[in-house]
Amino acid sequence: MSILDSKIPSGELNQKWSSYKDHIRLVNPANKRNIDIIVVGTGLAGGSASAALAELGYNVKSFCFQDSPRRAHSIAAQGGINAAKNYQGDGDSVFRLFYDTVKGGDYRAREANVYRLAEVSASIIDQCVAQGVPFAREYGGLLDNRSFGGSQVSRTFYAKGQTGQQLLLGAYSAMSRQIGKGKIQMYNRHEMLDLVLVDGKARGIIARNLVTGSLERFSAHAVVIASGGYGNVFYLSTNAMGSNVSAAWKVHKKGAYFANPCYTQIHPTCIPVSGDHQSKLTLMSESLRNDGRIWVPKNLEDSKAIREGRMKPTDITDENKDFFLERRYPAFGNLVPRDVASRAAKERCDAGFGVNTTGEAVYLDFASAIERYGREKARMNHDGEASIEIIMDLGAEVVKAKYGNLFQMYYKIVDQDPYKTPMMIYPAVHYTMGGVWVDYNLMTTITGCYATGEANFSDHGANRLGASALMQGLADGYFVLPYTIADYLADDIRTGKISTDLPEFVQTENDVKANIERLMNIKGTKTVDYFHKRLGKIMWDKVGMARNAEGLNWAIAEIQKLREEFYSNVRIPGTVDSFNPELDKANRVCDFLELGELMAKDALDREESCGGHFREEHQTEEGEAQRNDDKYAYVAAWEYTGKPSEAILHKEALVFDNIKLVQRSYK
């Protein structure tokens, strides 16, 4: 077992990044013009990196499988972005954001990376405002904030329930400016299918042109993987339909270690599953927990009556509601971190208190917030005598201004009006903290291959706090990678263009072609989705919110069988050399079928509960996650050796010099 070198700079925590930046090598502007960089993915991490690198003068080649870089799934992030601005004067600081993030991650993240993230967070807000991102403002013209789970300050900047959209459009506009100048070559509807190594260094990719079906070779001096997370391994998730692990998995198969694959985030507030035909789940932003109260009926009979349609939630008085988060976690209440909130909801539903016809839902209720805001508004209108109806209407307007688009989304999907009746919500797969292992420079274990944003593992430990994904994506792309990549590229100023006629390119392209032909020639009887759904069910049942050794061993065996079945019975219609979305899906599902097994293996190996990874064998008497810091305070980085079952574990010890490890408590 080797020791991984995370390349964390020496020195005091709060000096590491600035002194490191002062001493790493640079590439002068004239030389940047001779250097090419490939960026795979155009979400917040990839889009911001592409724009920032092109502004610096590098030649950037950007890739996305969608028809435009603006579609990347960062666009769907709703609630907000954290930054240690302390605009509210409520005690926030870089250290506090750092501390909350490490604690929220259940002490499984790397201190130095998280501190750097907190340090650059303020610049992100400045940069985005300069780009024209329309964040929410107060009447005085200054920026507004709200609170997110796992913190006791208001540090979340937002643009209604569309913060991800506005930030991504900001990055997209910065990219567009460079595309117009020719500094970014944009390859839409292109999917990376393999990494090309030359002399052990990442020097290019093979991508499929999804319109024509042809395989194309692209060379560069460095390759950045910013392709997002792997939540779609569960089939049903809040991810976009096309979100996939393939770019990350391909580099893993070429030598990049994959870290902590078992750390998946199950988001507590999603619209519950309605039927077998469902293709995806929809998130209801965590920001709603600022104003919504989560409850189930106190009495089992009431829950039963609701499930059977004999009773409505509005029939139940407050005394008969169990606000279980407020009851169990009085200090943080409805704003406990996501892993804690999800498990608490599952616990209530497993105990029979669930309220949907499936028994898998709890309520998120806005009635008291609507009334509170309504009374405030009535006072401001000098209408002290307002009737409760008027008060509720006034309050609904305030809530609409804050969360209008989310309420509309809920109404369209569920066909119930959340202004009048509580929302039904249930946990769903949302984000993956695990990912490609990277060092402090964001370089993977392959020289010249970087991973940023959700695709890497570095900042969120075992559980990500709300509004921190946007922060990390933009931090990596705007403010970290542009510095660290120069230190590597400084060796490449004399390399010159890399030819795509090199034998390594030819060989890799041939390998990709052979894989595709193998898939097309199976000509079986079942569709790609059939296999993907079955994989998702195995993952959700055994590698989901609660895991145990027996279930994980079963899952590993089942996934292996399913993979064999896939390779003998999948049916992919159409041809190789044409627009063929079923082939695109098949290419992605192959990789999910391997990743799923590694996730189960990693979960089995980690004999503790931490953050999003909950092993039933390891819990406190109160049912909280029980860490084992003596044995598991490390990053599990897996090396691919041909089969997921034979992956080799490498450990990076996590050293906490600035934070004392304690049992995480939100009580």
Binding site: A52, E55, Q66, D67, S68, R70, R71, A72, A76, K85, V120, D126, Q127, C128, V129, A130, Q131, G132, P134, F135, A136, R137, E138, G140, G141, L143, A159, Q162, Q165, Y172, S173, A174, S176, R177, I179, N188, T238, A240, M241, G275, H277, Q278, S279, K280, T282, M409, K412, I413, D415, Y478, F479, P482, D529, R571, P573, G574, S578, F579, P581, E582
Partner: protein
């Protein structure tokens, strides 16, 4: 529900294309329109037929990738939503549903219901940005106070998802609503004012070059817009444009 789908099939840009009829059964009201398309495609694949190509990704109404023209309306009969948010409860048993691609000169068909909307990206690349480099040294965000009214209006314009429904709905296949949303967002904010003149001229010029039609104020775009982008933006862009015409060198 039992439905009859009449779907535009076109194997590629050079194929003439035609409407093909597909009966479909066991559709439930709480399925989304795209769940229904998935069911159809699963059936076609198992039967050995070519599945219907359509664009989609986030399936929650924000990425702007889905794009169907359903019964003569962009994103179907419901208002203020995208196709992926449309649910089958909006249709009734026995109904016939026509499904076509966006039709516009600037949006060539790639296959079936999938079109190339690259023209919108090219319009954006000609001016849909503020020219500010990433540095970490821009002024503090609160050093640029912006009235809440302007910030909210800019936000409303900025919610455009770039789906192209406005173009598909317009009798002239004009992209005025799309372009004006970006021009408005940046014209309303102090950060965008510095380049306002060049921006509106460049974006309008590119819009014309890409083959989008002119605006004749029919207003169909705003009716069909899933994000309810207002016609006020077009008026604002016209003002910006005339101002720029008069003041540019």
């Amino acid at each position: 529900m039992k439905l009859t789908l009449k779907i535009w099939r076109q194997s590629g840009p050079n194929d003439k294309g035609q409407i093909v009829t597909y009966p479909i059964d066991n559709i439930e009201g709480d399925m989304s329109f795209l769940d229904m398309m998935d069911v159809l495609n699963e059936e076609l694949i198992v039967k050995g037929e070519d599945p219907v190509a359509f664009d989609h990704d986030c399936r929650e109404g924000i990425c702007g990738m889905c794009s169907l023209f359903i019964n003569g309306e962009a994103h179907g009969p419901d208002r203020a939503i995208t196709t992926c948010q449309l649910h089958m409860r909006k249709f009734s048993d026995g109904e016939t549903i026509y499904i076509e691609p966006w039709r516009a000169k600037a949006f060539p068909v790639i296959k079936d219901l999938v079109v190339d909307r690259g023209a919108l990206d090219r319009v954006m690349a000609s001016g849909g940005f503020v020219s500010v480099n990433t540095s970490g040294n821009t002024v503090d965000a609160n050093a640029i106070p912006i009235s809440k009214i302007d910030a909210d209006k800019a936000f409303e314009a900025a919610t455009c998802i770039g789906c192209g429904a406005c173009v598909a709905s317009c009798v002239n296949a004009s992209a005025m609503l799309f372009v004006s949303a970006k021009v408005s967002q940046l014209a309303l904010l102090p950060q965008g004012k510095i380049e306002a003149t060049e921006r509106v001229l460049n974006m309008v010029r590119t819009m014309d070059e890409e083959g989008f039609g002119n605006c004749t104020n029919t207003g169909a775009c705003a009716v069909e817009c899933p994000k309810e982008i207002s016609l006020d933006n077009i008026a604002r862009m016209n003002r910006e444009y005339f101002k720029a015409m008069l003041t540019s060198e």
